[in-house]
Amino acid sequence: MKRKTKQWFKLAIVTIAVTTLVLVAFPAGAQVKIRFQTWHWGEMPVFKELEEFQKTFNQTNPGIEVVRDDSRYADKESLFITQSQAKAAADIAHFTYRPIRHLADRGYLMDLTPFIEKEGGAKFLAQWDQSALDVCRYKGKIYCLPDDLNPIALMYNTVHFKEAGLDPSKPPATWDQFLDYVKKLTKGDRWGVGIIGARQEGIFMRFNPWLWGTGGDYLTADGKRSALDTPESLEGFKFYVELLTKHKVVPPGVIEQGAQEVRTQLAHSKVSMIISLPSEPGIVQAINPNINVREVMAVAPLPVGKKKVTSTYFSMRVISAFTKNPDATWKVYRTWYNKETQMRNFKIAGSLSSRLDFKDSPEVKGDKFAQVFALQTPYVKLEPLLAEWPKIGDAMITAIQESLAGIKTPQQALKDAHLATNRVLGVQ
């Protein structure tokens, strides 16, 4: 019995050793697989643009295979950070502009400058909006190229407008008009507008235009202190939260509502307006195939407070510092950013590219929705590009939720956010 055990044990050791040797000596195939990570793999209709890109690239580039790598919008950073800690991150990952500098500081991102130099340097970079490109420049290096730059606008249901006695060709142009419209549109179990209150990144795109529209801001002009204690900031903050707390023109449970909930509300006629990205008409259509978005919905610039300003959904792809195939990865990356791919993405999912040759193209100008979104680009403002931004943003979300829930008055909540911001900035 013990001799048999010894024999089995020796056999097991030999099998493990041989298997390991084979796997190390003969790696599977010569195909280079490039992991293309984004949360959009799980989101229609944007998934279709990715699927098309993957198919087209793989067919035209034998030897390199673009492989789907899923993340989720809520955990795209945590996934990439965890993978990077293990030096096993996806070759190409997708983020909004906010974490780029943090990821670069931790050494997780590849400096693209050498590749860009080979492509022509400044001439290559001239294809993109330079202010968008500035977000990718950090400490003398370039860590990304700007992908989609999607200014925010107002999407509204024209049928609801008509039912409420409002002219769909005259959307609200000022805040006063906006308030008037949403009150008229709110009746029964339908509300005038859907807004976000959930603790997620998407809240800033929808909230910031109200903060900035009165002349308020997060920081002073020199970026050294909080500006949340100004009357202008309070006015904008109050306007947003009082849509629920005072005017009741927003569905209850706002604190639980994120971007997808609000789109779903519009898709199922629970709300008449939302603060929208260019890709949202397509998403709303995908949520409710029975609604003809192109016929029923319209898009207009955000109503203007004291200044015309909007925010943007702005994302970029990065290359992992730990990619094992930098040249093949750059080839995939560069192909994603070329005009052909970016235009195809727009046609499939409505994404607006940061490429300069894109916004004036006939395809964009001829699209009912895209032309309105694209025209907002000059009014786009970004949040402060500071390392401290995540904590400042967190303090603002806390203030918004505390006001929406009635835990604090808007004045007290914003004051606490102001104090928290100054603490983060090291201001006494």
């Binding site: 013990k2 055990t5 010894k6 044990f9 955990d75 950073e77 945590s78 950070i81 974490p99 943090h102 500081d105 931790r106 179990d189 209150g197 959930a198 603790r199 997620q200 569905p251 209850p252 449970g253 706002v254 604190i255 639980e256 629970k270 390392a387 995540p390 904590k391 967190d394 806390t398 939720q401 505390e402 929406l404 829930a405 009635g406 835990i407 604090k408």
Partner: protein
């Protein structure tokens, strides 16, 4: 021949245990050691330059203090709920009922559902517009508001979370208490009945003393699990409204993955572990005594 048999006797056992030991080191001891090291590293630093700055900051952080309070409240109420519900069901399931096996199976279902799914289910149930709870309450109480916000309410968000956590976690407590109940000798109940003890007195003087050790073990283990509860809180409330339901696991997650302060997050995680160890001492002493 007898020498190699001796070699087998000495080395075969440890060799079979070796893969599991290596796995334990890889997934438990190594990450814990790395977390400790990270917590002592200056922000953005590397190598062996060590500092206590993150711990000093933690002790001065009012947000962390509030989060600790939230966590203790969350754990205490969950433990009480688990114990009461678990014990009640264990007592019920100990009876000879028709369909006893079926009921014993059904009551385990909440425990089989992952935290994330449970959190999403409760979000749907409690949704003010589309949830199933509000219409049900309106059917029973016609005056109940049509679109009542549970998770957005400053007074009800925390209780809603506790309720979901109690529902999710009671089965394990119930199973352990049921095993404990079955181990109490029937003769003790018979003797108590002979002495004139009713059901309540039997429960107080026979059942509870008989379950004392199991209850302590259950409380200790449950406390450790509830202290680390993350996915349920994240999916149900995200720590909101504001920071009313923010527990330590959420703060560690935010500090690490949203604020990119890896070192501070590690310090909070180490402090959590220290507190848990202290609170688990009665359990550790009890297990040590039993050996």
């Amino acid at each position: 021949m007898s020498a190699s048999r001796t070699w087998h006797d000495r080395h075969l056992g440890p060799l079979f245990v070796l893969p599991a030991t290596l796995m334990l080191v890889a997934v438990l001891i190594f990450p814990a050691a790395m977390t400790l090291k990270l917590s002592l590293t200056p922000e953005g630093g590397s190598g062996w330059s060590l500092t206590l700055i993150h711990y000093i900051r933690a002790f001065r952080d009012p947000v962390l203090a509030q989060t600790f309070r939230n966590t203790f409240e969350f754990v205490a109420l969950s433990l009480v709920g688990h114990l009461i519900l678990g014990l009640a069901l264990a007592l019920a399931l100990k009876q000879a009922l028709v369909g006893q096996a079926f009921f014993r199976l059904i009551v385990l279902v909440p425990w089989t559902i992952p935290d994330v799914i449970a959190g999403i289910i409760f979000r749907w149930i409690l949704n003010p517009i589309h949830g199933s709870l509000n219409p049900l309450l309106r059917a029973i109480f016609p005056g109940f508001p049509a679109e009542f916000s549970w998770l957005s309410s400053p007074t009800l968000a925390f209780p809603s979370l506790i309720f979901a956590n109690i529902w999710r976690g009671y089965p394990l407590v119930m199973v352990m208490l049921l095993a404990g109940l079955m181990a109490i000798p029937r003769e003790l109940y018979e003797a108590a009945a002979v002495d004139g003890a009713g059901r309540l007195k039997s429960f107080i003087h026979v059942t509870l003393p008989g379950l004392r050790t199991i209850i302590l073990i259950v409380l200790a283990l449950d406390m450790i699990w509830e202290f680390r509860r993350f996915a349920l809180v994240l999916t149900m409330t995200g720590g909101g409204p504001g920071t009313l339901t923010e527990v330590l696991s959420i703060l560690v997650y935010k500090s690490y993955f949203e604020f990119f302060t890896f070192e501070y997050a590690s310090a909070i995680a180490i402090l959590m572990s220290v507190v848990l160890f202290i609170l688990s001492l009665p359990y550790i002493i009890l297990v040590g005594r039993e050996r």
